[in-house]
């Protein structure tokens, strides 16, 4: 199996601040990787660079073998993004939002089938004719993720997908994300330890723009001699200070 994402010394600088400092990472196709870190760790900036929303200041990155700097249009056809803030068209219904996104990525004759499938798999049936602005936070997030996958991306980026959700809505969304794992490579940013632990094949611990550690939970536990991701994280963070 090939690599879905490869980055080499990827850097992003904003004037005097370095948001991402030399990120080198490989993600296999079909893998779910969690970028874990506190606010300002560089998780969102990494996602922005990999989805061509912001240009790297240095280094190199490829999505499915396509260079993000050389062919951003090619990359944009392969990725789906669910941004940190819920980004739906508020006055459109759930169905209209999904039809809109389908229209951007896929031919018209596939719209009906693809939208019906997304509504069914995300359990949005009873809300399909409801305006997005009237949905609860949890269902808005579901819609946002459904909009991100409707173009059938090879790589899906979920930026803090469960931020601000209650525990039940979060668990429900985890199940939806789990179900997507078999179909695409997923990069998920989060600062919830249990989320990374529950969903990720591998975890990337970031701090101040740099990668502190990468590995499966077992590998990270062995590396630090701690049990559970929270203790692993604290151990790595303390080692840095």
């Amino acid at each position: 199996m090939g690599y879905a994402i490869r980055t080499e010394n990827l850097i992003k600088r904003y004037k005097d601040k370095t948001a991402v400092d030399g990120l080198t990472l490989s993600v296999e196709e079909g893998e779910l990787i969690a970028l874990l870190g506190v606010n300002g760790a560089g998780k969102t900036t990494t996602v922005k660079m990999l989805t061509c929303l912001t240009k790297p200041s240095g280094g190199k990155a490829e999505i499915m073998g396509i260079d993000i700097s050389a062919d951003p249009d090619g990359v944009k056809r392969l990725v789906g993004v669910s941004p940190q803030d819920t980004s739906v068209a508020e006055n459109l219904t759930v169905k209209e939002n999904l039809e809109f996104m389908t229209g951007i990525y896929l031919p018209a004759d596939r719209t009906e089938a693809v939208v019906s499938r997304a509504i069914e798999s995300f359990g949005l049936g009873e809300f399909s004719n409801k305006k997005a602005k009237l949905l609860s936070g949890g269902y808005k997030r579901k819609l946002s993720i459904a909009m991100a996958i409707i173009g059938e991306p090879k790589v899906l980026f979920l930026d803090e997908p469960t931020l601000g959700l209650d525990v039940l809505a979060r668990r429900q969304l985890w199940r939806e994300i789990e179900a997507l794992k078999k179909d695409m490579t997923i990069v998920l940013t989060t600062h919830y330890m249990e989320e990374a632990q529950a969903l990720a094949d591998r975890i990337v611990i970031m701090n101040e723009g740099s990668v502190m550690a990468v590995g499966t939970l077992d590998e990270l536990e062995n590396m630090t001699g701690k049990k559970g991701l929270e203790d692993v994280f604290v151990s790595i963070a303390e080692r840095m200070e």
Partner: protein, 256 residues
Amino acid sequence: MRRTMVFAKRNLIEVFRDPLSWIFCIAFPIVMLIIMSIVNSTIPKEAGNTMFRIDNLAGGIAVFGQMFIMLFTAIAVAKDRSGAFLTRLYSSPMKSSDFVWGYILPMLLTAVIQVCISLTASVVISLISDYSLSIAGLLLTAAAVIPSALMFSAIGFLFGTFFNEKAAPGICSIIISLGSMLGGIWFDVEGVGGIMLKIGRCMPFLYATRVARSAISLDLGVKEFLIPLGVVVIAAAVLTVLASIVFKSRMHADQR
């Protein structure tokens, strides 16, 4: 093209589902048409003031209504820019031209509907006030004001790209006030002359009003119709190109 139309459809739905667009784009110009017609009926004939007579008023109101199209274009663009919705779309295969025409086309359609409604209301008022309007003139007006609709949409797009959700409506309100005064919608700028006329001639609004009024009265001379129409067409083209360039550079700036 498909992406442009898909985005245009989304924006059209957003406009039609916002009650404020109905109030400001459709109801308010008609209310002004009715109020000014009542004002006209109270002006003695000896005064010789024909500014609010329905043939003059209909053209003025058609342009006045389009100024609210500018406001709604600015709000739509600024609102999308302030949220994460455009972020999602920037990461999609949409090009800057899809965004530009996706915002402008639904506003043009709204403007055409708005003009048709306000001209129909003008016909009703003309029948009540016993002043006949030429149907050919009305049809010509509906077509002749399309360039000014594009011009106002482009101005709105420009403001929505430059300013945030709070500032853009304020700037547009200033333009609506200035444009309706210097555009000669509420008083005869050419009769007033002086500095008002000089400033008015430097802006496209006066020409837009003149196109609409000349079309209604089928006064299609070079000075009365063709030159003002040419000025509006050039202004619309320049502003649309400028708006496209500014949006594209903003899009790239956001990606730095």
